[in-house]
């Protein structure tokens, strides 16, 4: 086991910054280089849709469950999509059992926000009977081995699982028959791909490992659309960002967003 402290020691951090100045990261990558990425669909037979995403030693499963429920009173003809993330103690010695902490809530909400704000799908298409019955789509993001960058990898896994999903059959009595699946897919009009850019010293890098995350001064997650527009932002970390930082981060995220999107489209055959 490699137990990684939550905050990196100053000596180690200085060493890391020195190597970044030479353009090299601890694992030999370049600053703008993602770890080798793989996406596998249909990894859970019980989920309506599922995907396993791996990048380096990080691996995360997302699974989609669909059920019928009562719509919210203020949106009687709209279905609901919710993303949930858990920092499973299985996946890292730093994670402990218990109710979701702020870290997992942030991850879920940032992924959720990208999907919602991009109007990735038409919530009205999930309506079965206005005011009475709508589809509730729940996507759960579960790390199996956590080595950093859960927002981006969890976001990709969630999108892949949503693309993989098929609606279950509804019986004559209006209940869901989970043993029969239809051909109907979720109509995703956008694929909002989150890209997190970290800042250590004056250096910007993508796809940080857990160790690099422990040294980040700041990070910015930019959720990218196909045409290059942004649909969600989330700044994290203790240090501020300059206007120049943000400009560079936007351009880096644009480039990486294209790469991740191409991988997603390739795997899901869209």
């Amino acid at each position: 086991m490699t137990k990684v402290p939550l905050v990196m020691s100053q000596d180690r951090k200085q060493h890391l910054i020195k190597s970044l100045e030479a353009g090299v990261r601890i694992d030999g990558r370049k600053k703008d280089e993602f770890r080798p990425l793989s996406i596998e669909l249909g990894v859970s037979s019980t989920a309506e849709g599922s995907a396993l995403v791996r990048a380096g030693d990080s691996s995360v499963i997302a699974g989609v469950k669909m059920g019928l429920g009562k719509p919210y009173p203020d949106t009687p003809d709209s279905g609901v999509l919710m993303v949930n993330a858990e920092l499973l103690p299985l996946s890292n010695p730093e994670f402990e059992s218990g109710p979701p902490g702020i870290e997992s809530i942030e991850i879920a909400r940032v992924i959720d926000r990208g999907i919602r704000e991009s109007h990735a799908f038409d919530a009205k298409s999930l309506c079965v009977e206005p005011g009475e019955s709508v589809w509730m789509v729940q996507c759960d993001v579960m790390p199996i081995n956590f080595d950093g960058n859960l927002i981006d990898l969890g976001g990709l896994a969630a999108l892949a699982a949503l693309l993989d999903a098929r609606f279950p059959m509804v019986g004559g009595d209006g209940t869901v028959d989970y043993h029969e699946r239809t051909d109907r897919k979720l109509e995703l009009e956008q694929l909002p791909v989150p890209v997190t850019v970290g800042k250590i010293g004056k250096h910007l890098l993508v796809d940080p490992t857990q160790e690099e995350e422990s040294a980040l001064d700041a990070r910015l997650t930019l959720t990218m659309l196909a045409n290059g527009d942004l649909c969600a932002l989330q700044k994290g970390g203790d240090e501020p960002l300059t206007r120049d930082d943000i400009k560079a981060m936007v351009s880096l995220a644009g480039e990486k967003g294209k790469e991740l999107r191409a991988k997603l489209l390739e795997v899901t055959g869209r």
């Binding site: 490699t2 990894v43 859970s44 599922s50 499973l88 010695p93 729940q138 759960d140 199996i144």
Partner: protein, 240 residues
């Protein structure tokens, strides 16, 4: 009406297709993956490490703490709410009891060995799959063990004894079905997990226990092979 031909064509004492791997979670001290049919379990071991809360500590030997958990999308029907339930707590406890007899934790007073079990998909037999994955993970973590612990269920469908019921068989016969999860220590034949749901005649139970033995041996073989394979390749193994 007797259940003579199983719906998936298996022989009465034949388990479903098995996949077993060790070392699938690099951040853990030891890990295992066990899949039987459409029921899959990951297990990760952390420790021996300092035990919190302190009142759980045993000054004589280390303790084993298992946590069984179904992923929210791993159930047969609706989403399962994350977090512990009465069911998952009981399964966690019987998992501990199933594994403890093969472990030697005397060298770790006051410490805990944590085993986390997560299931991405289930089609009956999930506690047994969890125990199988956990045994691989404990061996992978280098905890002293006198044997592996295989587990599988045996049960009755429409009066016929069958091994390793799947979800369809569990629900086939609501009145006369019985399901008995069993774990054993292969070298001694001792049973470390035994539960039953359903109704069964006493002599049939003993026949069921005899009948399940070959499947348990087969699973133990798969578990041993998983551990051997992990060390046959250089460090690493297959990542999750």
């Amino acid at each position: 009406m007797a259940y003579e031909r199983r719906h998936d064509g298996r022989a009465a004492d034949e388990p479903r297709k098995i996949t077993a791997k060790a070392g699938v979670i690099k951040k853990a001290d030891g890990s295992g993956y066990f899949k039987i049919g459409d029921t899959a379990a990951y297990a990760a071991v952390y420790g021996p490490q300092e035990c919190h809360p302190a009142w759980m500590r045993n000054p004589k030997r280390g303790i084993l703490r298992c946590t069984y958990s179904m992923m929210p999308f791993s159930g047969d029907g609706e989403r399962v709410r994350p977090g512990p339930s009465r069911r998952s707590k009981e399964i966690s406890m019987v998992t501990e009891k199933a594994l403890l007899p093969v472990l030697d934790l005397d060298d770790y007073p006051n410490a805990v060995v944590d085993v986390f079990i997560e299931l991405p998909e289930t089609d009956a037999g999930s506690r047994c799959a969890g125990i199988c994955a956990a045994a691989i993970a404990l061996a992978d973590a280098g905890i002293t063990m006198k044997d592996v612990v295989p587990a599988v269920s045996v049960g009755q469908v429409e009066g016929t004894l069958v091994v390793d019921l799947d979800g369809e068989e569990e629900h086939m016969d609501e009145n006369a079905a019985a399901d008995i999860p069993v774990a054993c220590i292969p070298s001694t034949g001792e049973i470390t997990l035994l539960q039953m749901d359903g109704v069964m005649e006493p002599e049939k139970l003993l026949r069921a226990l005899d009948m399940v033995r070959p499947a348990l041996d087969r699973i133990a073989e798969a578990q041993r092979n998983a551990i051997k394979e992990r060390y046959a390749h250089s460090a690493g193994g297959g990542a999750a």
